[in-house]
């Protein structure tokens, strides 16, 4: 199966400023999280994929076609930009229908698709209000509506959850997942790690215009062999458990936290630790209430990779 999006040595400079450097990746269907701090090159990458920017070096292929100036391809893509892109004087309905007309939809289809998109983002009741009067969350939903209204197969969402309240955030996340289940390709960029974490395990870490890592969050975690892993255990006898592990060479540190019965063990070989843990627990008759990996999340991986 060919990748839907493929970039080859993709680089972009703005004069002397590096926007993106030597990016060669393949992106398949499903949700891919594009993660990086502000100014990392996420928006540049998005704009190169939507064909709005010309690569300085390399190429972007979408469904095997070059993205730049490929107007037919654009009708299969939905793009939700990071910043507000509205004429405040227009109503939400006028904005959506105008965007659909730009996608060459016929009048009955414009009406039908606009209605569907507005209903999905729950803005149908406010469709005749001018955008100026919309709240930040409503604007964000409207921006998402214009990206999905023409039923694209590829969705590029630049910081889509910005400005949404927790409920709106949850709804939008659910909606994005629905699109994933329909077999679409969705790229979500964000600098907020938990946002990406709840959406997907497939991530691309981008920083200073370079791809730092790509793949499953756990796969990336495994790549960082020397980086110590923390395992936090709440058990019936934490001192005994600590004493059994402290002498092992793969255990670097043992810490007793403020939480009652919790011990945090730092290891440089997670596999070895977890293979010996059950026997230690069994032999010493220790009951376990909870086992967690506090640093097995995107924030920890991200911080480690970018060298914080």
């Amino acid at each position: 199966m060919n990748p839907v999006i493929q970039t080859d040595k993709l680089s972009k400079w703005y004069g002397n400023v590096l926007g993106l450097s030597d990016v060669s990746i393949k992106i398949e269907t499903g949700i891919t999280g594009l993660l990086g701090p502000n100014g990392a090159g996420k928006s540049t990458f998005m704009k190169l994929m939507t064909g709005q920017l010309k690569p300085s070096i390399g190429k972007v292929l979408i469904q095997g076609e070059r993205a730049r100036n490929n107007y037919t391809l654009f009708s299969r893509m939905g793009y939700c930009p990071e910043y507000d892109v509205f004429y405040d004087e227009l109503t939400g309905w006028q904005f959506i229908t105008g965007m659909l007309k730009l996608n060459h939809f016929s009048s009955p289809d414009v009406e039908k698709n606009a209605r569907k998109a507005m209903e999905i983002v729950e803005l149908m009741q406010d469709k005749d209000r001018v955008i100026r009067s919309y709240s930040r969350g409503m604007r964000q939903r409207l921006k998402f509506a214009q990206a999905i209204a023409h039923e694209p197969e590829i969705l590029l969402l630049d910081e889509p959850l910005n400005g949404l309240d927790p409920l709106g955030r949850r709804k939008l996340i659910q909606l994005i997942k629905t699109y994933r289940d329909e077999g679409k390709l969705i790229i979500v960029s964000s600098h907020v790690l938990p946002e990406i974490e709840v959406l997907t395990n497939k991530i691309v870490l981008i920083h200073q215009g370079k791809i730092f890592a790509q793949g499953d969050i756990h796969y990336i975690r495994d790549l960082i062999e020397n980086h110590p892993h923390m395992i936090s255990i709440i058990c019936s006898n934490r001192r005994k458990l600590a004493s059994k592990f402290i002498k092992e060479e793969y255990v670097l540190k043992v810490e007793f936290g403020k939480v009652k019965n919790r011990v945090t063990i730092e290891t440089n070989d997670r596999d070895k630790f977890f293979s010996s843990l059950p026997s230690v627990l069994r032999k010493n008759d220790i009951e376990v209430e909870e086992i967690t990996s506090p640093d097995d999340n995107l924030q920890a991986v991200f911080d480690y990779i970018i060298g914080k």
Binding site: T29, K47, V85
Partner: protein, 291 residues
């Protein structure tokens, strides 16, 4: 069905080609213009010269009913409906001023608002070419300028035929309709480039409005100063207004106000349009860059 089971299906449908992909941009531009404060009043104001000239055509055919006007020789000569009458309408200072007024309302925000609202990225992530974008914006300008040039010009001819009850007028000046159409297109093309160019220079439509007014009258002032000092008629070529009037005289087969070949003015206006097109192309590309 999960994504991994479903896999990906390549899109094999055909994109329906639109005859005028720029039409939605134009419709939106016109709609937004009518929403502007005081626009409707100003728009009505721009139609006043056309209404006066239309009344003149009526009066010229019913001259016996307007005998009080015939005492004044100037008025009498004004009421003679011929190519000069048309030329005087199309090249009048008043009409050009009205067009500038229209440009401030309908043209100033055309690109500057897109820059302000970051809308360009939405346009260009859709099946819209850069030329379609420019065409859509220029069509907004054309719509309003044609209302005060092309449409009145054709209405004048039709009304002259109706009021006179014969086709003699058209038989005497068969080329006049081409002059009306040709000059209307020429003046619209110029103002489209002029306005879009200035609109692409700033994100604030008020500043752009000032620029549209300012540059037009600044060229007139510069001409006045140099003409006053050096007394050379060729300095008239510095004035946008004079150049438009000279070309207008050429289109309607009239003697230009300044004794300079009108083709020079035509070339200058064409040069301005070409320069504006080059700058526009560069400016619109440059704003695609992420800041």
């Amino acid at each position: 069905m999960s994504i991994k089971e479903k896999g990906y299906t390549h899109w094999d449908g055909k994109l329906k080609k639109m005859k005028f992909p720029w039409k939605p941009i134009t419709q939106c531009g016109i709609k937004l213009t009518f929403k502007k404060k005081f626009f409707k009043f100003s728009f009505f104001l721009t139609l006043v010269p056309a209404l006066i000239y239309l009344a003149g055509i009526y009066a010229s055919e019913k001259i016996e009913d307007f005998s009080f006007l015939t005492r004044d020789t100037d008025t009498l000569s004004f009421l003679k409906v011929d190519p000069k009458y048309f030329s005087s309408y199309f090249t009048s200072d008043t009409l050009l001023f009205m067009i500038i007024l229209l440009m401030v309302f309908c043209g100033a925000g055309l690109i500057s608002d897109d820059l302000k609202y970051n809308s360009l990225q939405l346009y260009f992530s859709r099946p819209i070419k850069k030329n379609d974008y420019f065409m859509g914006k220029a069509a907004v300008i054309a719509f309003f300028i044609f209302i005060v040039t092309l449409i009145p010009g054709i209405v004048f001819i039709v009304m002259k035929l109706i009021f006179s009850g014969s086709f003699r007028f058209l038989a005497s000046f068969p080329w006049l309709i081409f002059s009306v159409v040709g000059y209307s297109i020429f003046i619209t093309t110029f103002f489209a480039f002029y306005t879009l160019f200035l609109s692409s220079l700033n994100k604030n439509r008020r500043y752009v409005g000032i620029l549209i007014f300012g540059l037009y009258f600044f060229s007139e002032i510069i001409f006045g100063i140099f003409f006053g000092i050096f007394k050379s008629k060729y300095f008239a070529l510095l004035s946008i207004e004079v150049n438009l009037q000279q070309v207008g005289a050429g289109f309607f087969g009239q003697k230009p106000v300044y004794d300079i070949p009108w083709i020079l003015s035509f070339l200058i206006i064409t040069m301005i349009c070409i320069l504006a097109a080059i700058v526009l192309k560069r400016k619109i590309r440059s704003v695609e860059v992420v800041k």
